[in-house]
């Protein structure tokens, strides 16, 4: 009974969100990873030698690094059963008309609202490993903003690229950052010049659409002094049977007085290992905000971090984790206070249901060189039934006595009382539960662009079906 319900949900899910679109890669690289594969990737992309060397060095680190033994279970990942690079049949397109029909259809099914479509000229869609559509908005260009695929940026702006690439997250940082550094492909490159305010969010849609294909996008963002911008990415993935790996690296440099927000809503299919390293270097009086929604996937391990290295720097993480059957969301945040008067805030909300598991894993580190640090951590977990679980692993390393650090954690269940109250007004149990869950994550959803908020709420409604009884 329960299994049938789950199956139904998957079917609706696939139908509603347009998974399983036909793929159009022209040539598939071989499965598995080797030095040869890496050389081929680099050659295919026509990269400079330094990048090939960087990749090869990272590959060495990847081999040497052990699998993390903490966090979620990663023992089922078979690195030799994954494609590391797929070049789609279509080359990069310049105008919307040139974008293949099936990609447009994907946008349709994602429910991108009409108003949003008008701005699609500025949307970068990563379809398989390569950007198939990429067109700079004129106004951005005029302001000197660079918004390109990372591959393109390497070709067009080699100096800026080399100066910042791999500086925030060294290739040997961790096993999956090393893997990404060795085989990365696609992702976004964003450069906001000094003092420029970008009002509209820079948007990118990501999809994985080839079975067993790892997606290793690499994003590099530089926000120059006093600039302001908001980057938004959303992911949906097709439902496939074999395991799939997503190991991205995102590096953000926020220069003095700048403010940058990076919003992600990820809705991977439930066979994806989502192992992402996200880190920002936050300089004097700058602000970095990570808004991170982790839905779907089989396993997520993701801890967006802020290295607050300049006086008065501020870091914020707002995160939602949502785990259902067979899923483990191991998510959290890291705040490293390395300068005086720095502040940070972490708000984490997690929902587990139908046997799902969520973990909050966080670090607040205050160095001796960082007097008057302030940090506030709030993690709230909501558990919908007795077969689901949640746990919290907060770490505090405080080396300065003037630090002011608060930590608050709550775990709650949906009370019968609340359900009864809402049902007495004619809502079904499913609707009542959906409402309570939406309300629970509202503090984070309200920070999302409208269409994401709508999509997320729709998804939750859908997820609630069959979770009752």
């Amino acid at each position: 009974m329960k299994n049938n319900q789950l199956k139904d949900i998957r079917e609706t899910y696939a139908d509603k969100f347009g998974f399983n679109m036909p793929e159009v890669p022209s040539s598939k690289a071989k499965k598995g990873l080797s030095e040869e594969v890496i050389r081929e990737i680099s050659k295919n992309k026509g990269e400079p030698k330094w990048m090939l060397d960087y990749r090869l060095k990272a590959y060495e680190a990847f081999i040497k690094k052990p699998m993390p033994e903490w966090g979620a279970d990663l023992s089922h990942i078979d690195f030799q059963n994954i494609y590391y690079y797929i070049k789609p049949g279509d080359v990069e397109k310049r105008t919307w008309d040139d974008v293949p029909e099936n990609v447009k259809k994907t946008f349709d099914r994602l429910g991108v609202p009409q108003a949003e479509r008008e701005y699609l000229a500025g949307v970068k869609a990563q379809y398989d490993s390569e950007v198939v559509y990429s067109s700079l908005m004129d106004e951005l260009e005029e302001e000197g903003v660079i918004f390109l695929s990372t591959d393109e940026a390497l070709k067009k702006y080699p100096e800026i690229f080399k100066e910042y690439f791999g500086k925030v997250i060294p290739s040997a940082d961790n096993k999956f950052a090393a893997l990404n550094s060795a085989v990365w492909s696609g992702g976004s490159f964003v450069y906001i010049p000094k003092g420029v305010t970008v009002k509209r969010p820079l948007q990118a849609y990501f999809r994985i659409n080839a079975e067993s294909m790892g997606q290793f996008e690499r994003t590099l963002i530089i926000a120059e002094e006093g600039s302001f911008a908001n980057y938004v990415e959303g992911c949906t993935a097709p439902v496939y049977s074999s395991d799939s790996l997503h190991a991205a690296v995102v590096e953000v440099i926020v220069k003095p007085g700048a403010r940058f927000r990076y919003t992600t809503i990820q809705n991977w299919s439930d066979n994806v290992y989502n192992l992402v390293t996200k880190r920002a270097r936050v300089e004097k009086d700058a602000v970095m905000e990570w808004v991170d929604g982790n839905l779907g996937s089989r396993v997520t391990m993701k801890y967006p971090s802020c290295y607050l290295i300049g006086e008065g720097a501020r870091g914020e993480v707002l995160s939602i984790a949502y785990a259902s059957t067979g899923q483990h969301q191991d998510a959290g945040a890291k705040m490293i206070h390395a300068a005086p008067n720095t502040s940070s805030s972490i708000v984490s909300k997690s929902v587990s249901l139908r046997g799902g598991r969520t973990s909050y894993r966080g670090l607040v580190d205050v160095a001796a060189s960082a007097p008057n640090a302030k940090s506030r951590v709030e993690c709230d977990a909501l558990i919908l039934d007795s077969i689901s679980a949640t746990d919290t692993f907060p770490t505090m390393r405080i080396n300065d006595s003037s630090a002011n650090v608060e930590h608050e954690a709550t775990v709650s269940k949906i009370g019968e009382e609340k359900l009864f109250y809402l049902m007495s007004r004619g809502l079904t149990e499913t609707e009542a539960m959906g409402l309570i869950v939406s309300g629970f994550i509202e503090p984070i959803v309200r920070e999302l662009p409208m269409e994401y908020a709508v999509e997320l709420n729709r998804l939750i409604e859908l997820e609630m079906e069959g979770s009752v009884g």
């Binding site: 009370g415 019968e416 009382e417 609340k418 009864f420 109250y421 809402l422 049902m423 007495s424 007004r425 004619g426 809502l427 079904t428 149990e429 609707e431 409402l435 309570i436 939406s438 309300g439 629970f440 994550i441 509202e442 503090p443």
Partner: protein
Amino acid sequence: MIYSLEVKNLRSGIEQKEILKGVDLALKSGEVHALMGRNGSGKSTLAQTLMGSPTYEVSGGTAKVFGKEILKLETTERAKTGLFLSFQYPSEIPGVKVYSYLRMLHNKSHEDKLSPKMFREYLAKKMELLEMDPTFSERFLNEGFSGGEKKRMEMLQMLMLEPKVIILDEVDSGLDIDAIKIVSRAVNYLIEEHNSSVLLITHYSRILNYIKPDFVHIMLDGKIVKTGGEEVASHLEEYGYSSSELQVPAVKHEE
């Protein structure tokens, strides 16, 4: 005769403890029945049992709304028969905006869906009736509301649903006289406009000055021990619940 609400020999309680020991009631459309009694007499248990609270277990009897047996129905289905309970202690639902919640209630209970603009106007009128500040619609449902604000929010939800059978569980408790008048206005509106019937649970006869009862019932130890007109309430006001008029042995302690 089909009653809007007909309860016969209803028994219910918590685990092994019976609280309702055979309650009989019959309300016709448009009638107001006041149900009075001291704390612990079973008034709220009756309200909660009728709405299908998971806290209470029914051990006997029947309850019908317009002839339809409701005791086996899910709470959602009971609400669909036109039954409404104004809670004594409404739940707080954080993160759920009053506006979108009420729109959901309205859309679910009405055939004609209003456009967002029309709904806003409709809502504004109802809030005006309850003398509620328009900013209420932007707050989260009952979160951080005062006792009086919660009661008004119950009334606002009631106005959205336009129920045929209304149970008010101590809607007057903690309200000053002005607030009681406002609440009464909403209830009277539904009696007049929709011929709704009302089971008015209260401790005090004060609210009966504003919502005129056709019958007054006195509940004691899980049973209705006296039924009459308004004079029953006035008698109670004067002599209290231990009056010999109630013709039952005094109960030593309740709660």
